[in-house]
Symmetry: C2
Subunit: 197 residues, 2 copies
C-alpha cells in the first residue's frame, strides 16, 4: 500500500522531460526515438513507458509544462504594482524569449502533428482566454483605449510575435530586446492610454 509512485514529479520523470526537451529542440521531434531519450536520460525504456504512453504524450507534457510556466509568469507580473502598459510589455517579451529559446524546429514540427491537433486547439484556447483576461484587466483599469476590441488586440499580438521573429527585421534590429521594444512602441502606440494620447 506504500505509494511511492505519488512522487509524480519524480527525478526520473524530470530527467525524461528535460532530455526530451533538449533533444527535440536540437533535432526536432520525428528524428528522436524513445530509446534515444531513455539512454541520454539514463532511464530504462520501461520507466519511460510508465510515465508516458508514447513519444507524443511526452511532447504534450513538455508543452503543457511550458504553458503552465508561462501562465505562472503572467500571473506574477499582473499581480505587481506597475503600470498596466509595463505589464503587457514584460509579458510579451517573456513570451517571445520563450519562443526563441525553444527554437523554430520544435514548435513548427509540433504544430503540424496530426494526432496533436485537438490538444493544440485546447492549448490555443487556453492561451486566448489568458490574453482576453489580460485585455479585460486593462479595460477595467482604463488603460486601454475604449474603441480597441479584444479581437483587434489579439490580432496585434499575433503580428507582433510574427514580426519579432522575422529574419529581415532581425537585420534591422539585431538585438532582440530592442527589436521587441520598438515593435511594441509602434504597434501598441494607439492601444494604451498614455499621457501622449
Amino acid at each position: 500500500m506504500n505509494k511511492k509512485q505519488n512522487n509524480i514529479k519524480s527525478i526520473k520523470y524530470r530527467q525524461i522531460i528535460e532530455t526530451g526537451t533538449k533533444l527535440f529542440i536540437r533535432h526536432g521531434i520525428k528524428r528522436i526515438t524513445v530509446e534515444e531519450i531513455c539512454e541520454e536520460a539514463g532511464v530504462s525504456k520501461m520507466t519511460f513507458y510508465k510515465f508516458f504512453a508514447n513519444k507524443l504524450e511526452l511532447v504534450k507534457q513538455i508543452v503543457t509544462g511550458m504553458m503552465d510556466e508561462g501562465f505562472k509568469f503572467v500571473d506574477n507580473i499582473m499581480a505587481q504594482d506597475i503600470p498596466y502598459e509595463e505589464k503587457v510589455r514584460q509579458n510579451i517579451k517573456h513570451k517571445i524569449e520563450g519562443i526563441r529559446k525553444y527554437g523554430d524546429l520544435f514548435f513548427e514540427e509540433f504544430l503540424r502533428i496530426p494526432e496533436l491537433q485537438p490538444y493544440i486547439a485546447e492549448m490555443n484556447s487556453n492561451a486566448v482566454k489568458k490574453i482576453i483576461e489580460i485585455f479585460n484587466t486593462g479595460k477595467a483599469e482604463g488603460a486601454i483605449r475604449e474603441d480597441i476590441t479584444p479581437e483587434f488586440y489579439q490580432y496585434l499580438l499575433g503580428h507582433l510575435s510574427i514580426m519579432g521573429n522575422d529574419d529581415n527585421l532581425k537585420k534591422v534590429f539585431p538585438d532582440m530586446g530592442h527589436r521587441i521594444e520598438t515593435l511594441i512602441d509602434v504597434l501598441f502606440h494607439g492601444v494604451f492610454k498614455t499621457p501622449s494620447n
Copy 2:
C-alpha cells in the same frame, strides 16, 4: 553513343553533395535518410542511386572532396614565395577552420562508422603522407631544426588540433585566429629556425 553521363560533376551530383553535407553537418549521418536528401536537393531517388550506391558512398565522396580541396589549398600555399614558417601557419589555420566549419557531429560520427574504417585508414594515410611531404620540404629548406623528427612533428600537429578546439582554451582565447596563432607560437617555437633561435 552520346555520353552525357560524362558530366560526372553534373549539377544534380553537386546538389546531392551539397545538400547531404548540409544535412549531415546539422543532424549527423545516421539521422538523415536518402529520401530526405533527395527531397531537399530536388532530385529523385533514382538519380541519387545513379551516382551513389548508398548513403555511405555519398559520405565517402563528401569527405574525399573535402580532402582534395584541402590538398589543393596546401599545394597552393607551398608554391608561394613566402617563408616556410608562414606556409605552415596558413596550412594549420586552414585545416582548423575546416574542422570548425563542418562541426564535430559529422566528423565524430563519420570516424565511428565500422564500414568506413578501411576508407578512413586510407584517408589518414594520405594525410600523413602530405604532412611528411611538407615536413621534408621544410627540412630541405633548412627551416626546421635538425633534431626534430617527423614523428614528433606529427605529434605536435595532432595536439595543436586538439588544443585548438578545446572548450577551456576557447574561454581564454575566444577568437579562433588569435588562439591558433598563440598555439603555433608556443608549440612550434622550438621547431622552426627563426632569427630568435
